[in-house]
Symmetry: C2
Subunit: 341 residues, 2 copies
């Protein structure tokens, strides 16, 4: 398969992207990697990483422009036709690649993906679907922040897409789909939640979905659902509250371990046991977030990605292609577009 990388997206581009590509090239011999970006900058990053010649199965496609975080996300890809993102997505659209990975602006990537590569037929909205580190080994959160305003129909489609992702990429047999809400009982929450609850219940009765009911954010963190269905507003509040609390807790813990010589020694003795905790809290191993609902796999890597994070984002793209997640979603689309009407 051929994976296309936006070599200019992210805080540490192109270096992080090149580092990730070198590691991925070593491990995944079924992948060809195309790095799109300023030829000389990408080339220099390879040289910096001790690759005088490009590794096998790796190529660079020159694109002169870069979409910046300050560009208007809705139009950036049109205004900058020779940007790494636009050129890369056009390549994907033209069938000259199987997936696209970018650590650039989420908004720009979403607009460009929707307007260039297009949504799967019948899908009303694409949504970013991060896998968040919950107690069940990770849950798909959909929508993680794309569509601030949603209808019950969107949420039902998110439920389906998230369920496909959890089944095929996370390997959950009958993914438990939960509706993010502010109470566990049916009838809780606002009108959007009440209407969505009714639709998801009907689909569960038909056997099309394993809907486990409302999930509060506290229980979501502990892993009560494999798929957490939310509008992009509350989904993003959940995502960043977890991230913030974990960061804040880590900061307090570090301060505690540095508070005295005794505590420092305590850290040295106990840190071995903490590797699991660190691994769970390490966003890099999650890879990126898949943008679901687009005809081909698009992976949004974290803007602060380093080489390791890009490596995992490439692995995630490879899995999405291998499992044909987008094809399966497209096959469901007829069914999806019927629900919620």
């Amino acid at each position: 398969m051929k994976l296309i990388l936006d070599a200019m997206g992210g805080d540490d581009a192109p270096n992080a992207i090149v580092e990730g590509a070198i590691a991925a090239q070593r491990d995944f011999d079924d992948c060809e990697l195309v790095l799109v970006g300023r030829q000389e900058a990408v080339q220099a990053a390879f040289e910096k990483n001790k690759c005088k010649a490009l590794p096998e199965r790796v190529s660079i496609l020159d694109a002169r422009e870069v979409i910046e975080m300050t560009d208007d996300p809705a139009n950036a890809f049109r205004r900058k036709k020779d940007s790494s993102m636009t050129v890369g997505l056009n390549l994907l659209k033209a069938g000259q690649g199987d997936a696209f990975i970018s650590a650039g602006s989420t908004g720009a990537l979403l607009s460009a993906s929707t307007l260039l590569v297009r949504r799967a037929k019948g899908i009303r909205r694409a949504a970013v679907a991060p896998v968040i580190p919950t107690g069940c080994g990770g849950s798909v959160l959909i929508d993680g922040g794309t569509n601030a305003e949603c209808t019950p129909e969107y949420l039902v489609q998110f439920a389906f897409m998230g369920s496909v992702y959890a089944q095929y990429i996370l390997g959950r047999e009958k993914p438990r789909v939960g509706l993010l809400n502010i109470g566990a009982e049916p009838g809780k929450g606002d009108t959007l939640r009440q209407e969505t609850y009714a639709l998801l219940t009907r689909l569960a009765e038909e056997g099309s979905l394993n809907f486990v009911g409302n999930v509060e954010s506290r229980e979501a963190v502990f892993g009560q659902a494999d798929v957490i269905v939310a509008d992009g507003f509350s989904g993003n509040i959940l995502l960043k509250a977890m991230e913030g609390t974990a960061m804040y807790f880590t900061k307090l813990l570090k301060e505690a371990f540095q508070s005295s010589t005794k505590a420092k020694l305590g850290y040295l003795l106990s840190r071995g046991g903490m590797s699991d905790m660190k691994r769970i809290m390490d966003y890099r191993e999650v890879g990126g977030s898949c943008i679901l609902g687009i005809q081909k796999p698009i992976i949004k890597a974290h803007g602060a990605s380093d080489g390791k994070a890009i490596y995992y984002a490439i692995r995630q793209a490879r899995n999405a292609v291998a499992c044909n997640v987008c094809g399966i979603i497209a096959d469901h689309a007829a069914q999806l577009s019927g629900a919620g009407n």
Copy 2:
């Protein structure tokens, strides 16, 4: 001052309420405490806590019914006229007490407070306003879960009420009021956020409020605002995500410390430095959540409150009375009801 306690509300009622009352009676000699509930059960709890006679300034008011979590919150207080909650709130309404504290059903307490004690004139909605453990020593989150559907006018009123609370109870001089949103820049979020942002900006320009703009949940956790303004849906998602993540992190940390003899020893050496962390994460010291917008102070204590948590909830009620929070909010109400129209 006279504080009224719902002796029958909460998982460990009446014992936790009696324990908290005994401790508060010792520390706050300016307070009279009235415990409302089944006379014999409350009496027995005092005896169990080594008080054969009731302590000074403590009395019991008999009420035969108890509002259960399974009762319909909207009507429970009417159907159970002789419940501890209804009797207690009627006492408050009649001017025979200065504040009411309950660890019972939030929904029932909110309905009963609104319909018996009534909202301050001009206030459209009452809202529960927990103080959440953020990096700035705690922030007022308003609404924490009461009104799932809100208008810009409600949110502006929440901003005002939260600001009064942060100033007079938390002692913040010019409380920084932030709008919970999914991006920091103006124009982010849904229509509700965009409209509220414009109204809050106007009030800030008039000097009525120290509005610091949008706050994402990650930054909210780190204490970027003293007051976090949210609709009850996303506010509750934030609140419980922080709670869940802190609990989950604590669980992982415990497992890490128990993973080997070396790690156990490490814990013994470092635990001294962790007391601050534990204190920050201990919901009990926060007390309860004030329901703001009602004519008199109503404190909702956590359903799982133990004696210590009830003690702090009593202290919080005492502060609210001493600082005349409800009076100040009522004075602002004319101004408030003008905003957002």
